[in-house]
């Protein structure tokens, strides 16, 4: 606005106005970003710094006092101790992400290209179940999948499964729970990416004698890659650290690292070890993201996140 004023009245601008205008101009971006900066500082960077420093300390579980002992060795030690749980978490999160991508791509595609005027309605339908707390929804899955629940009883009566077959308490139940819970986090970025594709580009592809399949492979998918990447991040990362699904749906051999971290804090009360594990989890996630970004080379991810 200030620029307009200057342009309209060359030389006729009051001095005070001019000064105020340039101050405001200089400060405006800082003032506007202030809430975000404060938010980031207080709720993200400070806790992160506390967690990082705690991971190098040694704590007395009785008095709660922690001393800085610079125990760098703790990080590789924790990886060693809980290697299997880390690997299990990676496998489950990867499986759930793949399931989600496969399931939600057609949904997102259909809404984006064939949703017509009811697009918002369909998107809403996708989100409605998620107005209920995810713990409750996971508990309902436990009820549905339980051995004497109606679903398993029906399958058993139909002789589709043997009497001893069970889903609850297996890794498959955990993957199913994760996929279900994080589905909208995959579907929505995919939808945004597909929705943004310029239809004229598709028309051009057809004009150049591309078959529908070729157009899909060589136009739609490449243009949707930033969305796929965003979907991957938003699904994989929370699923990797998730512990609710494993605790409710999992059994004895499917412990994920999130459960271990939770137990370290709440059962053992060892905050230092819990922080070390969290740091390792964070580093693995960041490394994964970095690698993934390098491979896909997506520069415009932020547009879709």
């Amino acid at each position: 606005m200030d620029q307009l004023v200057h342009a309209d009245h060359p030389g006729g601008v009051e001095r005070t106005h001019h000064r105020r205008g340039s101050w405001g101009k200089r400060l405006a971006p800082y003032l506007l970003s202030l809430p975000a900066v404060v938010w980031l500082l207080l709720l993200f960077l400070v806790p992160l710094a506390i967690m990082l420093s705690l991971s190098l300390k040694t704590c007395n579980p009785a008095s709660g006092t922690c001393y800085m002992t610079w125990s760098w060795g703790e990080l590789p030690h924790q990886v060693n101790l809980y290697r299997t749980q880390f690997i299990t978490s990676l496998e489950y999160a990867a499986a759930a992400t793949i399931v989600d991508l496969v399931v939600s791509f057609p949904i997102a595609y259909w809404i984006a290209f064939h949703g017509g005027r009811k697009k918002n309605f369909f998107l809403m339908m996708l989100l409605v179940p998620f107005f209920v707390s995810f713990v409750i929804r996971t508990l309902v899955w436990e009820f549905i999948l339980s051995n004497n629940g109606f679903f398993m009883t029906f399958l058993r009566h139909a002789h589709l499964i043997s009497a001893n077959f069970h889903v609850l308490g297996t890794g498959y139940a955990v993957i199913a729970g994760l996929s279900y819970n994080y589905l909208p986090f995959t579907a929505l970025p995919l939808y945004v990416a597909l929705e943004r594709i310029d239809r004229r580009v598709l028309e051009a592809a057809y004009d150049l004698y591309a078959s529908r399949r070729e157009a899909f492979q060589r136009v739609i998918v490449p243009l949707a890659i930033p969305g796929i990447f965003a979907a991957f991040l938003l699904t994989f990362i929370p699923a990797f650290g998730d512990y609710v699904n494993q605790q409710i749906l999992g059994g004895t051999s499917s412990t994920m690292i999130g459960t271990v971290i939770q137990n370290t804090f709440l059962v053992t009360g060892d905050y230092a070890a819990g922080s070390s594990l969290s740091v390792v989890l964070l580093v693995i996630s960041l490394l994964g993201i970095w690698l993934y970004a390098r491979v896909l080379g997506s520069r415009s991810i932020e547009e879709y996140l």
């Binding site: 709660g64 800085m68 002992t69 299997t84 009820f143 339980s146 409710i248 004895t252 412990t255 137990n263």
Partner: protein, 434 residues
């Protein structure tokens, strides 16, 4: 269990300051693993040296002269576990009667879900020498925090001149218990058993032994508890070892047994209190279980099939203890309230609602033949409970008979942090291992 006499109070035999120095130096899991360098050891020494130089923060608190200076403030802040007191239409009849007769207002907070996490909430105040906001907290004896509170001098020693009801009516299971000899710091709120429960529809020949939890016949249908102290204790019972007098060698034997139980595919999962849901819906046929849960499940005709076993190896008894955290603002009001709950009249009302193990055996007579204000209170509660008061009075789960009392075992009392670490390092990997 008599061996337990010495182990119950490590704080008495040894100078507590020295004790803390020792545990602080040894507690470090990192050091034991050899990842620490020389500088680390030095800094820990400095820290523990500073700590052991000072006496316990409650050294001058809780003696006769201290108590004499304290006055009633006619208010008390009471932190307890949820659903653990007589409740009617959102009000607590026994607390209301207390306020009417003593003019002490009670702020009742149902904020304790878990020992470790609640302890973590009050710990910063205690460490800073400040009031936690609670004059009474209720902590369980089978988890480390109660021991921590005693060890660090963060509890007010009780005024024994203000405990007439306790002296007269407290039952043998909670009087002078191994975890707090002479009731220096604590009075029991309620106790319960951790035992084995099964669904009699699916389990036809349960027998009377905890070995049912290790029976291959029930592979994949056995629930175990995810609390390492419960899990380890039942392992010890299965080996025929008294948990209270067990040694570290016994613990590793129990861990081996429990690891095998898991790798043989017998365990369905390690549950928190959610095991009861799995027992009810039939996913799990046999499980480690808390007596109160089974009693409450049985109240509904639908779950009459759930049976609590009294195994010949023993029943683990845990006790939730009322205690006064240091820097409490209303300790005298707290004492008055704690002793009030040792009146058989009061306890009859609480127990009619709770159905845990009653710390006051004489409450049984009060349930059958109420003589005081409890007559009206019990009558008002009855539609809510739906059972006659005799159901509670006659239940061996509330008033243990001779056999149950004899089979009751207490948990191992940890002498220091190193032992706690040894225990958790043995049993946690079973619970959360791959």
């Amino acid at each position: 269990m008599s061996d337990n006499n010495n182990t119950g109070a490590p704080y008495e035999g040894i100078d507590p300051a020295l004790w803390r120095g020792l545990t602080q130096r040894r507690l470090s899991r990192r050091q034991a693993l050899g990842v620490a360098g020389g500088g680390i050891a030095a800094s820990l020494f400095l820290a523990s040296g500073a700590a052991s130089g000072a006496s316990l923060p409650n050294a001058k608190v809780g003696n006769a002269t201290w108590w004499k200076k304290e006055k009633l403030h006619h208010t008390v802040n009471f932190a307890n576990w949820p659903l653990y007191i007589d409740t009617l239409n959102g009000k607590y009849p026994s607390l209301e009667h207390f306020t009417q007769t003593t003019k002490i207002k009670v702020n009742y907070f149902q904020v304790i879900d878990d020992n470790t996490s609640f302890y973590a909430k009050i710990r910063p105040s205690l460490a800073a020498g400040q009031y936690t906001g609670y004059d009474i907290v209720v902590m369980t004896n089978n988890n480390p925090p109660l021991g921590y509170l005693m060890e660090l001098g963060w509890l007010v020693p009780l005024d024994h001149s203000m405990m007439p009801n306790f002296k007269k009516y407290a039952g043998p299971l909670v009087k002078n218990p191994p975890w707090d000899r002479g009731n220096k710091y604590t009075m029991a709120w309620q106790s319960g058993w951790t035992s084995v429960a099964y669904n009699s529809k699916q389990v036809k020949d349960p027998g009377d032994s905890v070995h049912i939890l290790f029976d291959k016949k029930y592979a994949g249908r056995v629930g175990m508890l995810s609390d390492p102290f419960e899990l380890g204790s039942v392992g010890l019972l299965a080996l025929g070892i008294e948990p209270a007098s067990s040694t570290e060698k016994d613990w590793s034997k129990a861990a081996t047994l429990l690891q095998k139980q898991k790798s043989d595919g017998i365990v369905a999962a390690y549950y928190d209190q959610s095991y009861i849901q799995h027992l009810k819906n039939g996913d799990v046929w046999v499980s480690q279980a808390y007596s109160g849960d089974i009693y409450q499940a049985n109240l509904s005709a639908k779950y009459k099939d759930l049976v609590l076993m009294i195994p010949k190896e023993g029943l683990m008894m845990w006790t939730d203890n009322m205690c006064i955290p240091l820097y409490a603002q209303n300790p005298k009001d707290a004492m008055t309230l704690m002793d009030y709950y040792y009146s058989p009249v009061t306890q009859s009302v609480v127990e009619y609602y709770n159905d845990y193990i009653c710390p006051v055996p004489d409450a049984k007579q009060q349930l059958l033949h109420p003589t005081s204000w409890n007559k009206a209170a019990l009558a008002k509660l009855k539609p809510e409970i739906g059972l006659p008061t005799s159901a509670t009075a006659d239940s061996p789960l509330v008033f243990p008979s001779g056999r149950e009392a004899k089979l009751t075992k207490t948990y191992y009392q940890f002498k220091n942090q190193e032992e706690i670490n040894t225990w958790t390092n043995l049993f946690m990997p079973i619970i959360q291992g791959a």
